[in-house]
Structures are given as structure tokens and as C-alpha cells.
Amino acid sequence: MNPKVKWSIAAVLILLLLGGLYMLEQILPANSIIFTVLQKGAIYSLIAVSLNLLNGFTGLFSLGQAGFMLIGAYTYAVLTIPPESRAAVYQYYDGGIIDFALPVPVAMILAGVAAGICAFLIGLPVLRMKGDYLAIATLGFAEIIRAIVQYDKLGPITNGSNLLRSFPVFHSTLFPFIVSGICIAVICLLINSSYGRAFKAIRDDEIAAEAMGINLFMHKEMALVTSAFFAGIGGALLAMFQMMVQARAFTSAMTYEILLIVVIGGIGSVTGSVIASFLFIASSEWWLRFLDEAQFIGGMQVPFLRPGFRMVVFSVIIMFVVLFYRKGIMGTKEFSIEGIYRFFTKGRSKAGKGAK
């Protein structure tokens, strides 16, 4: 297909999506569950794609994503709380030691940069390990980051273990969609560039990649820092979505959620991660909520339904996915306009042959 046609179709689809979201915001009440799902889904998409860059495209099994998100979220929050609100937020630390507020876009980029720098430093020792060892080491570092942020002596900056709030947040669903969209597009560009090919080479065969002149350590660092940068921006978006940040929330369970999205979507598929994020968020926040409440059918209470039962069902679903759809929804394939076009034209040419 002509690339010009392809790009114009993509542009039209993106405009339709944004237009549709705008219309939805006009029609539905602002507290509708759909907006929660869409916003959180968009944010998780970005974070899942950033993790997929590491796990799926570079073959580095890293579990440090929650740590990088935490750094992003805190950097954003600390730098954007307006000076007049600081006394209230930092009530136990005499209003903290920072008395300026940066504009939102600058703070978001700095959130990514801070996470990236942290990832670079963690990468120096950790990237010499492989496989499970790397996973455990990154997991450990994520926990260390969480502990350090809650350290009382850092209170004037991080507010200790108390929550940060009163920073600027978004009011439209369009905001997380546009930011995540741009970030994911950049990740896609990277994946399809010469460096992306080098990452995939490392994933397929480290020894051969090295023999072809690819410096393993440098390229792994690049992948880790890029992934952390976007996880940091994702963390900033998550802070905005929640309207507050608390280090306690960024546990390893959060990393597992994201890992789960990546696995369900397909390790090595960007569109798979995006689709899986929306499905995951929709089921955990919306479709399976009824399992946590007592339900009655004809005056009889349905057994088992009580708070927490949702997670049981969820676990079973995940087990089914892992057992029967080991490659996830998309495998390593991508959902593309060209693919759909080919699907339809192939169908037509087959039908044509049948008619003959």
C-alpha cells in the first residue's frame, strides 16, 4: 500500500479517536466509570509499552518499572506543587525546602529524565546479569527506591511517607491519550530504527549480536534508560490521574500488573500491550467489580461473591491465558492498517478465485 495513503488513513483514525473522546466527554457525566477506564488504560498502555521495550524487544527481564514510575511521579509532584499550597502539603516538614513550581510540560520531561538517570545508575551494576538474576536485582532496586523516598530525612523534599497532593492535574481524557500516544509513537520509531534492530538482535542471540559488533552493555543501557524515561512520564501521568502520590502505592504488585499486561498482550507487540492495558483496566476496574459485591438472583444470594473474589476470578483468567494463549493476544504481531487492508483484499481475491 502507498505510504501516503497509509499515513493519511492513520491520521484520520487518530482524529476520529480524539474527536470521539471529545464527544463522549460532552455527552456522559464527568464521573462516569468509562473515563476512569480510558484514562488509566491510556496511562498503563504507555507504561506497558515501555516495559515491553525491555522485556519483549531487548530480551531483558526487568521488574523495576514501579520504581521508575515512582521516581517520575514524585519528580513531577515535587516540582509542580504551587508555592502557596506547599505549607499545607508539607505540614510536617515546615513547608519543605522547594519554593518554586515548574510548568507542567517541563516537569513531565524532568520526571522522565530523573527516572532515566536513576535507571542509568542502576544499570551499571545490574546489566551485567542475565535472566532471572536481572529480574530479581531490578525488583530489589525498585524496592530500595521506594524505601529511600519514604526516608524521613528526605522529608523536606519528598514529604516522607506522607502523600503529595495539590499539584496540577488533567481534567480531560484527551490529555493522557495525547501524551501516551506521542510517547508510544516515539517508542515505535525507536523500535523500527537501526537501534531497535540492534535491541532485537540482542534478544535473539547475544553471542551473535556481539560478534556483529554490537556493544551489549551500551545497548542494554540505552534500552533501560529509554524504558525508564517513558515509565517516568507514565508515573507522572499516573500521579495526575490519582491527584495524589504516595510511595506506598508503587509496590512490586504494580510491576506485576504491568508485566501481566505485557504477557497478555504479547511479549514483543506494541499494539498487543495497548489492547491488553485497556482490557486489563476495564476488567479490574469495571467489568469484574460486581464480583466484589453480594449479588441476588431471585432473592437468593449468589455464593462466593464477596470483597476479594474479583481477584480469584482474575487469577483464573490469567492462568487460562498463560496456559492456552502463551503468546498473548497478539504474539509478536502488530495490529496495523496495512494488515487489515491485506486481510480484506486477500479475502476478496480468494472470493474472486472461487467465483471463477
Partner: protein
């Protein structure tokens, strides 16, 4: 005598108590085709792995293009356990990673094919061009290296055309037949713009006709790309036909060296490797 591109001197590679390569000295002249032969387990691939930086040699040195590339001597525990010769002859330690050696201009293929099996044929070749491309991660991501990328793609297609693989460029490398994978691996090695090409059993698993084609092909690329070739091979037809120099390894030791005629008439080689034919005994 022509200038040596590769000079391996007293290389010993010892794993624990096992000496895989013992005091190996050999030279590859510029523009020559040199073969390393020997029975299975003689240490041929280990020698390749030392030259390409996969293993650090226990003792000895390797020069490339007249410059010292690797040097090592036994230290620590190995100093006591060392069973090889020339202990104390080398004082320095110079170790290079495989990617640094590839950048110097040594490319290799693998005995058990190591293609990037989930990627396309074209991508496999493009990856080998990555290290020499003028770009950084930002220019590559935001397509500011557009011209460089186009140049790489053209050069990669040229290499595929030489190997007659251009029609397979979008196929997944792992799905190709064995013989084609071998050819693709050579194309990929050539894409790193090497001065010395190490081929580890390039004709393994090939039938006589394919072997003959490969033989012609090796000579062709040697002339076309101004290469020196150092190969491990078991097909004696191929080796005897095109080698300028043959080294024979047995149990990690060099037992003979010389031109194809000299080696094929050497009684030690015949005993250790070539074998005595039944007819000759009569």
C-alpha cells in the same frame, strides 16, 4: 612472504584442568585462504573463540594487522594449575570484547548457525551494519539519519543479491532451509566490512554440488572484498582446492602445517585425521 594479517603466538586455552588449545602458533597472510583442520574435539572452534574474543586465552598473544590485539598470562589460581608451555613469556594482559574485535575488522560465522532467527533476512544483514553506521540513538529514532539508513539498505540488498537471496529479504531467517541460512550467515559477516573472515565449517551439511558452489563463492568474495579468509572445514575437497596454507590440530596441538600437498602427504596427519585408505595398504 606476504604481510601477515593475523598472527597467533603460543596461544594456550585451559579450562580448569583441560587444555583445549595448547601452544598454538599460526599466521594468516594478507589475501590468503588458510584452513584449520583436525579431528572433532581438537580445539579448532576454541581457537576461533579465542581470536574473536569469546574466550580470554590463558597464555599467549594475538596480533591483528601488525598490532597487538590480545595478550594474557595465567594469574591467580590458574598460575598454579597451568599445564601449558611458555609460562612467564607474556607479562601483559590485553583483553578485548567480541564487539571491539568485530569493529577492528574480524567477522565470523558459527559452527551451529547463529542467525537472528526471529528477524527477517534483510534485518539480519542490516544489524551487522549497525556498528559502522554514522548515527546516534536520537538521529536514528527521529529519522534524521535517513540518508545513512537508505545507504545501509542499498548495501544490504547488494550483499543479498551477491548471495542470490534478494527475493527472500522479507522472510524470517529461522524459517529458511539450512543451506540458505549458511549463506545468509556469510552475507551477514560480510556486512560488518571485515578484513579477515573466519568461517567455522561453512560447508557443514552441504551436498557435493553445494560444496562446490561454496568453494567458488569463497574465492569470489575473497577477491571482491579484498579479504583474508581463515576457515575450519572438514570437506577435504574444499580445503585442498583453495587453501594456500593448512594447519592441522590434534588434541589442541599443532601437528603439521604447510601447503595442501605437504599436509596431505604428512604421515602424522594421515594417521591422526585423514586416515589410511584401505586400497593404499594393498
Amino acid at each position: 612472504m606476504s604481510e601477515n594479517i593475523l598472527h597467533v603466538e603460543n596461544i594456550t586455552m585451559q579450562f580448569g584442568g583441560v587444555v583445549a588449545v595448547n601452544n598454538l602458533t599460526l599466521d594468516v597472510g594478507k589475501g590468503e585462504i588458510v584452513a584449520l583442520i583436525g579431528p572433532n574435539g581438537a580445539g579448532k572452534t576454541t581457537a576461533f573463540n579465542v581470536i574473536t574474543g569469546v574466550y580470554e586465552p590463558t597464555n599467549g598473544r594475538v596480533d591483528f594487522q601488525g598490532q597487538m590485539m590480545l595478550q594474557n598470562h595465567p594469574t591467580g589460581k590458574m598460575a598454579k594449575a597451568y599445564k601449558g608451555e611458555n609460562m612467564g613469556m607474556y607479562k601483559h594482559t590485553m583483553v578485548k570484547s567480541p564487539d571491539a574485535i568485530a569493529k577492528l575488522g574480524i567477522a565470523r560465522t558459527f559452527q551451529n548457525i547463529r542467525l537472528f532467527s526471529e528477524l527477517t533476512v534483510l534485518d539480519n544483514v542490516l544489524i551487522a551494519m549497525h556498528m559502522r553506521a554514522k548515527q546516534n540513538i536520537f538521529s536514528a529514532t527521529f529519522r534524521l539519519n535517513y540518508k545513512e539508513e537508505q545507504r545501509m539498505r542499498r548495501a544490504a540488498m547488494e550483499l543479498l543479491e551477491i548471495q542470490n537471496l534478494q527475493h527472500l529479504k522479507d522472510d524470517i531467517a529461522g524459517s529458511l532451509p539450512y543451506g540458505i541460512q549458511r549463506r545468509l550467515e556469510i552475507a551477514r559477516a560480510l556486512a560488518t566490512e571485515p578484513k579477515l573472515l573466519l568461517l567455522d565449517e561453512p560447508a557443514a551439511g552441504m551436498n557435493p554440488q553445494e560444496t562446490q558452489e561454496l568453494t567458488d563463492f569463497i574465492v569470489q568474495i575473497k577477491d571482491q572484498y579484498d579479504l583474508s579468509i581463515f576457515m575450519i572445514e572438514h570437506h577435504m575437497d574444499l580445503v585442498m582446492q583453495i587453501s594456500d596454507q593448512i594447519y592441522v590440530l590434534d588434541f589442541g596441538r599443532l601437528i603439521a602445517q604447510g601447503t595442501p600437498e605437504e599436509v596431505s602427504n604428512d604421515p602424522r596427519v594421515i594417521e591422526a585425521y585423514l586416515g589410511v585408505s584401505e586400497d593404499a595398504e594393498d
